[in-house]
């Protein structure tokens, strides 16, 4: 936000507040118990602080904040309003006035404010009988000046320092998370830089440099992990919504449901959590709406009338597993295949090649089901294509297991953090691009002889499975590669529930990338999950393969 447009208004209104403060101070010296004058003084300092914080004038914030705290002590009866307090407040008024003058003339402030803040924080009226020790004084003020969440016992002076530094940054817990984002950004830039050092090290062939870089690399990994840990939030930050939505859907569909939640204490990255709400809501709604049978049907099947939907979160090293399990009617792989063939999404021949697991994944293909035609079979797929895409964007995977008659479980496996990913870098024509390694099953260098032509398709054999070949160049609208030595580099990925070999011009190896958003307008581009800068400054896009195919 461009704040310069508010500067004039800020200056004029701040000066008004300063005038009010000065007037009230003088009035209070006449009648020190005047409640409304005390309140007005407190308000004046408080408003000034808020406005200055918005303009990011840290010095003014520090001074106004100390005045506010001092007045809070007066207001709360911890400190009598005396000549000493009046002097300090008027000194503050003069100080802010001078700072505003600097702001107006756009020159850096030369006035130190720390000394003033410290004096106010530790101020005790000299002649008072019940004088407190100076270092206890600020604690005596029940103003809860530190953010409640962050408050922990600390020596007063230290607390005061902490308060000042956070104040200069905006001073709130929410702003602190911005600071964290910034830290993560910096960590990401460091990772990018490390890559650069790595490639210089390779060019120079210096063992000493390589050792240093590899040590730096370890330290960076540790730094990244620590920074990321601070961003973790317990799953319960979003779980209450699920409870509500399950209850609502159950009520609407006239079903009785027990909803169980385990692992609410498991921490996930703030950004991941935010992106999980919609996909999980979809999965849960599908489970209740289409998975769980109605009471009569359940009783006929010998099940308790009340359906069970379980949401469990667990952590497996650096990945989070989230499972939604229901004890409903389950999904029949064969019916899924038939439905997909009927809709023309796959050919009957393709259908025969699918394993039961792959057949269940058909529900994630766009077009498999729409909200309009909800049947027992395809109903489970409502919105699943969007869910799958959202999970893939987070660098996660989605798996479906189902036992007809017994129920279905959908498991999301997500990385603990998202900002730094491992990606396979490939060359297609003039363009370098990256594919997150979680989307890459393996890389293969295929000899032309190994390619079989089946109808219009080119296939190759991998682990006794016939896998179709696609050209990533073609998918991206680039000229096709030529492969004069007869070797086709490719990576194997999964699309529409089955494996595909994506041919590229060259495989450039795995890299650690710091993912950045592309912003408007490229954010709207299908098949692109973000971008990253390589060690040499080159920029690549990060592809979302499942969205591309």
């Amino acid at each position: 936000m461009d704040m310069s447009q508010y500067k004039a208004l800020f200056l004029s209104e701040s000066r008004e507040y300063l005038r009010t403060i000065a007037e009230q101070v003088v009035a209070l010296e006449q009648s020190p118990a005047d409640r409304s004058a005390i309140d007005a003084l407190f308000r004046g300092a408080h408003s000034l602080k808020g406005m200055a914080a918005s303009m990011e004038y840290g010095d003014v914030v520090v001074v106004a904040h100390s005045m506010e705290d001092l007045m809070a002590r007066v207001r709360d009866g911890a400190l009598p309003f005396g000549a000493g307090v009046a002097d300090l407040l008027l000194e503050g008024v003069d100080l802010i006035d001078a700072l505003l003058q600097d702001v107006e003339e756009e020159r850096p402030s030369s006035l130190p404010t720390d000394g003033y803040a410290a004096r106010l924080a530790s101020y005790v009226p000299a002649p008072e009988k019940k004088a407190k020790k100076p270092d206890e004084a600020p604690k005596a003020a029940p103003t809860a000046a530190e953010p409640a969440q962050a408050s922990e016992p600390a020596p007063a002076a230290e607390a005061e320092r902490a308060k000042e530094s956070t104040t200069e940054l905006g001073g709130t817990v929410r702003v602190k998370t911005e600071l964290l984002d910034h830290l993560i950004n910096l960590t990401g830039e460091l990772v990018t830089n490390k890559q650069r050092l790595l490639s210089i090290g390779r060019e120079l062939a210096s063992p000493a440099l390589n050792d240093a870089v590899s040590e730096t690399s370890k330290l960076l990994r540790a730094l990244h992990d620590e920074v990321m840990k601070v961003r973790l939030m317990p799953f319960e930050a979003i779980s209450d919504r699920f409870q509500r939505s399950v209850r609502a859907v159950a009520k609407k569909s006239g079903k009785e449901i027990n909803f169980e939640l385990t692992g609410r204490e498991i921490g996930l990255d703030r950004g991941v959590l935010e992106q999980l709400v919609d996909p999980l809501n979809h999965i849960l709604r599908n489970a209740v709406d289409h998975g769980i049978e109605d009471g009569e049907e359940r009783e006929r099947a010998g099940k308790p009338a009340r359906g069970l939907v379980k949401l469990s979160v667990s952590r497996d090293r650096d990945r989070i597993h989230i499972t939604v399990r229901d004890d409903g009617r389950g999904m029949e792989p064969q019916s899924m295949i038939e439905a997909a063939v009927r809709k023309g999404l796959i050919t009957p021949e393709e259908g025969e090649l699918l394993s039961p697991r792959q057949a269940l994944m058909l529900s994630c293909i766009p077009g498999f089901s729409t909200a309009k035609e909800v049947t027992d079979i395809s109903g489970r797929g409502v919105g699943m294509d969007a869910v799958n895409a959202a999970i893939a964007k987070l660098g996660g995977t989605l798996g479906i297991e189902s036992e007809p008659g017994q129920g279905t479980s959908i498991t999301l496996k997500l990385p603990l953090t998202i900002a730094i990913i491992h990606a396979l870098l490939v060359q297609c024509g003039q363009i370098k691009t990256a594919i997150p390694v979680n989307a890459v099953q393996r890389t293969v260098e295929l000899s032309r002889r190994q390619i079989e032509t089946v109808g219009r398709r080119q296939m190759f054999q991998l682990d006794d499975e016939s896998i179709p070949l696609l050209s990533l160049n073609r998918v991206l609208g680039l000229p096709l590669g030529r492969f004069p030595d007869g070797i086709l580099p490719l990576f194997v990925t999964e699309a529409k529930g089955r494996r595909v070999g994506m041919v590229v011009d060259r495989l450039l190896g795995q890299h650690e990338l710091f993912v950045k958003r592309l912003g408007r307008p490229l954010d709207g581009m299908a098949g692109v999950a973000g971008g990253a800068t390589l060690g040499d400054g080159e920029i690549v896009t990060i592809l979302d393969i499942s969205e591309l195919l």
């Binding site: 936000m1 602080k49 808020g50 406005m51 918005s54 409640a148 702003v175």
Partner: protein
Amino acid sequence: MAIKVMIVDDSLFMRKMLRDILTEEGYEICAEASDGDEAVARYRESLPDLVTMDIVMPNKGGIEALQEIMAYDAAARVVMCSAIGQEALTTAATEAGAKAFILKPFNPELVTRVLREVVQG
């Protein structure tokens, strides 16, 4: 139709900033008030969809105004706004029916996100 918002803050500067943020986001600013008394009166006149309420204000503070507005309209959607130092009042505000709490200084993205969440219930 645009969502109608009433902005309550004793500082003109803050009101203007918030007005600009919200207008940019497509909200319609249907009323502004600079203290609690005015807020209650304006609320009755303009029945906004959403209220942003400063806490520390002259005459009548934000918490009191919130209570009066909630008594008048139990469905009122009021979001409290305050600079650091008033977090202790969060609980009181939530108990009185506030839908959310925004800390000043205003971060446009945060403000719009919180308001969107409140609007969407």
